[in-house]
């Protein structure tokens, strides 16, 4: 197997790309997708360490993270649809109903 550092760097790259997506995009859906990317970056780390130690505990955590991602996506998209019905926009900076 390759050294774990390879996986850590890959994970870091994906994580940073995800962060850039969350911070810079306006479209809420793409922001949510970037969050998925971040979660996946974490998963890669977990899997690499799991392989390194030869135990499956890391994989269990990855499963929990995927579960969490599913819940997050369902609720997040539900919010987007509910919001969209009241105000037809998907841009984060136009969702300013609470501002005055």
């Amino acid at each position: 197997m390759l050294p774990v550092s390879h996986y850590i760097y890959l994970s870091l790259a994906l994580f940073i790309i995800g962060v850039i997506g969350v911070l810079t995009r306006r479209n809420v859906i793409i922001i949510l997708m970037s969050i998925e990317l971040i979660l996946n970056a974490v998963n890669i780390n977990l899997m690499a360490f799991s392989r390194m130690w030869g135990s499956v505990d890391g994989q269990i955590f990855a499963i929990f993270i995927i579960t969490d991602a599913a819940a997050e996506a369902a609720v997040g998209l539900g919010i987007i649809i509910a919001f969209f019905r009241n105000r037809p926009t998907v841009l984060a900076d136009e969702m300013d109903l609470l501002k005055w």
Binding site: R26, I29, I30, N40, R51, M52, A74, L77
Partner: protein
């Protein structure tokens, strides 16, 4: 094993390339497709790590489930106007810079302090059949968290239904 590293570099390049495209595409559907390709590449890396069960779970749940949901919602709220609008927000350059700084920081920290951890390559032995092992551990050691996760999913499901329903 040469084949192993070829596989890793191929999937890593695919994942990073698609991720970059995902963040930069204007059209949300294109973004979703590139995210799917990233996720598939990550699944490939799981396979290369000999975690077949997680490979399949990644595809079924992430690609076949969560991303379908995303694509659905994108199509439902697909705004032609959104395609013509500015895709990055106004402070994007600050944010991008800060994110890169964060990345650089992480690299520096890892380079200087990584030796403190015992990071080695994995043993060359292959892992035993994966699905059964995951199942055993999940239902014995992590049974309580597993049940909590199921409650989390239930709550999320109810929440999503309540929110997306037109009239309750």
């Amino acid at each position: 094993m040469m084949l192993d590293s070829i596989l890793f570099y191929f999937f890593a390049a695919l994942a990073v390339g698609s991720a970059i495209l995902m963040v930069t595409r204007r059209n949300a559907v294109h973004s979703a497709v590139f995210l799917i390709s990233t996720l598939l590449a990550i699944a490939g890396i799981f396979l290369q790590l000999q975690a077949e069960f997680l490979f399949v779970v990644q595809i079924i749940l992430y690609v076949g489930g969560i991303m379908v949901l995303f694509v659905f919602v994108i199509m439902l709220v697909n705004l032609d106007v959104a395609v013509r609008q500015m895709k990055f927000n106004r402070q994007s350059w600050v944010a991008g810079l800060l994110a890169l700084v964060l990345g650089g920081l992480a690299v520096v920290v890892y380079r200087s302090g990584g030796g403190a951890f015992n990071l080695m390559g994995a043993p060359a032995t292959t892992m035993p059949p994966n699905a059964e092992q995951v199942g055993t551990v999940l239902f014995q050691k992590y049974f309580l968290p597993f049940e909590i996760a199921s409650i989390l999913l239930l709550v999320a499901m109810i929440g999503a239904v309540v929110m997306a329903k037109r009239k309750i």
